[in-house]
């Protein structure tokens, strides 16, 4: 029998990238009125579920905890994760968190992870390769630094065995295998698996799963350390880029390839 695992999966609610997205307010923060679970987090959740199911799932004592930080709407990302198969949810929410940059976000999340670890050590913190809104990919590395844990980022395959994690990473010029001891912070790419959809049984089961709400005080973070005040960067201006407009559209009459080259020559792109 393999050891059981306690895995925290970070999930984020983000504006649906299928539609126009906006920045607003004095702090130029992202509008999250119409938000969904970040698509890239589904791969992390799937990886967690596969690891724990191989060890007998929640019946055998494995845990997959969906942790999200953000305003009331963030609970939707947690609920979706519970429907897909996470065993419980934790929602870190506090008015003071609004406008947090990556440094402040990683500080608050690290505190929440330590809090969750207080009643039983956490083996893995799993994240997606980036959020689909901020896209900075800073948080996993900063979490590892703050928690003093090995960072295994951009994993395209993942194995856990005997207290160690082994992952494959694919870069443009090379592929590599990396190894670290548990606990570790691991981010996974969209190549690692095929995330499942919630099924009817999962949706019903999710209603009985618990979501714990934590405030900054609960995790021992002073409000001045997060939000706009606690961030180390500030957005000083934001301008919507004028939308691109269509140029010349032609229908091929047998010479469109030549016309294409004429266009490139006129633009001095040859």
């Amino acid at each position: 029998m393999e050891e059981t695992l306690k895995i925290i999966v970070l999930v984020k609610h983000v504006p649906d990238a299928q539609f126009d997205r906006h920045l607003s307010g004095e702090g130029h923060t992202t509008d999250r009125d119409e938000s969904i679970l970040s698509e890239l987090d589904e791969y992390a959740l799937e990886a967690a579920l596969q690891l724990t199911e191989a060890r007998g799932g929640s019946k055998a004592g494995n845990k997959v905890i969906a942790l999200s930080m953000g305003p009331a709407g963030a609970v939707n990302a947690i609920k979706k994760s519970l429907q897909i198969g996470a065993s419980e949810g934790v929602h870190l929410t506090d008015g003071a968190l609004a406008g947090s940059d990556a440094a402040a976000t990683s500080l608050a999340l690290a505190a929440a992870i330590r809090h969750i670890g207080a009643d039983g050590p956490v083996d893995l913190v799993l994240t997606g390769m980036s959020s689909t809104d901020g896209e900075t990919s800073l948080v996993p590395a900063q979490l590892a630094e703050r928690l003093g844990l090995p960072q295994v980022t951009f994993a395209s395959s993942l194995e856990v065995d005997g207290g160690r994690v082994t992952a494959r990473r694919d870069a443009d010029t090379h592929s590599e295998t990396v190894e670290a001891s548990l606990p570790a912070v691991v981010s996974v790419t969209d190549q690692i698996n095929e995330p499942r959809y919630p099924n009817f049984k999962g949706i019903i089961a999710a209603k009985r799963k618990s979501i714990t709400t934590l405030s900054l005080a609960d995790v021992g973070v002073d409000p001045s350390q997060v939000g706009h005040a606690g961030s180390w960067t500030t957005v000083t201006s934001a301008e919507e880029r004028p939308p691109r407009t269509a140029g010349t559209i032609i229908t091929d009459e047998g010479d469109a390839g030549i016309k294409l080259v004429d266009f490139l020559a006129a633009q001095k792109l040859l």
Binding site: A141, H174, V178, T236
Partner: protein, 317 residues
């Protein structure tokens, strides 16, 4: 004068263009120094001097490359302290961003990624939400850490070359203690084409290619371009995942982006709409890509692309 530290990691025999760009930006902000990792070849040392580096810091440890990110961040933090730099410039690669991320936590410094321009006062410019906004951001901390995208400036040598002094920086003893170790590495076969994220021209193909990337590759080679792809094409396994442009792939801002057989849904648009000039070829006149194309051709890409490739070869001959 402000001290600006540029991190240069394992350049091999010659500095990359993106490193020369960082040195050029560093000179516009203050006095540049280099935190170097890896073997320092004579040509590289000479290029650092030619681009105005006043000091070259090197790590006391040789094993930083055996681990992921963490020890390099620890070394860079030590180099910042030694150099008393107030700005650090790092390349905008996935690893560069993560080194910057950890450096920020170590030294309580604001980190700004995906920067395309830096003002003299340290204000950094970038585009966010898949190119739909241009923002300006600033670190509010004494130290600023920026990761700068390639092709942001034209690299220029310094007016007066310098003879940088070499300084060894002590890497903290615990730098590798909780780091993931790299146990195996395989080089991939080089395509001989430019790197997708830095390329001046990108030719990309999608579903319309129906498994045959030949016409896209031939046009790319005639133009000296990189080859990109939509998610549909990489998911279908027609081309390596590395080539994916879009929300879950790479973001590119080339001078010219030629899109062939790609509908141009938002997921693809997110990765390429900051290209200077967009050309689209698609047989469906209703494809969204035509809404953002500077020049669009409604037609069969298997006719149009080879004809364009032949014409380019003829004109270049």
């Amino acid at each position: 004068m402000a001290n600006v530290l540029v991190f240069i990691d394992n350049p091999g025999q010659a500095l990359k263009k993106s490193s020369l760009e960082l040195l050029t930006i560093a000179r516009s902000l203050g006095e540049p120094a280099v935190a170097f990792n890896g073997e320092l070849h004579d040509d590289v040392a000479a290029a650092l001097g030619a681009h105005g580096a006043t000091a070259v810091y090197r790590p006391s440890a040789q094993d930083l490359d055996d681990y992921l990110v963490a020890p390099k961040a620890a070394y860079l933090a030590a180099a910042v302290n030694t150099s008393e730099a107030t700005t650090v410039l790092v390349e905008n690669s996935p690893e560069g961003k993560e080194i910057a991320a950890r450096l920020g936590v170590r030294l309580s410094a604001g980190v700004i990624t995906d920067v395309v321009a830096v003002d003299a006062d340290g204000t950094a410019h970038k585009s966010v939400l898949a190119g739909s906004y241009n923002t300006a951001a600033k670190a509010t901390t004494p130290l600023t850490v920026l990761t700068v995208k390639a092709n942001s400036v034209t690299p220029e040598p310094a007016a007066a070359p310098s003879a940088p002094e070499t300084v060894t920086v002590e890497v903290p003893a615990d730098a590798t203690a909780s780091a993931a170790r790299i146990t195996a590495r395989e080089q991939k076969v080089a395509s001989g084409r430019p790197d997708l994220t830095d390329a001046r021209i990108v030719v990309a193909g999608g579903r319309g290619l129906d498994g045959d990337f030949g016409p896209v590759e031939e046009l790319a080679d005639a133009l000296g371009a990189a080859v990109g792809a939509s998610r549909a094409a990489t998911d279908a396994g027609w081309i390596s995942h590395d080539a994916q442009v879009g929300q879950t792939g790479k973001t590119v801002s080339p001078q010219l982006y030629i899109s062939a057989g790609i509908s141009g849904a938002i997921q693809q648009k997110a990765g390429m709409q900051t290209a200077k000039v967009i050309v689209a070829v698609n047989k469906d006149a209703e494809s969204p890509v035509f809404e953002i194309a500077d020049f669009g051709i409604v037609g069969d890409l298997f006719q149009v692309l080879p004809q364009a490739t032949e014409e380019i070869k003829k004109r270049k001959a």
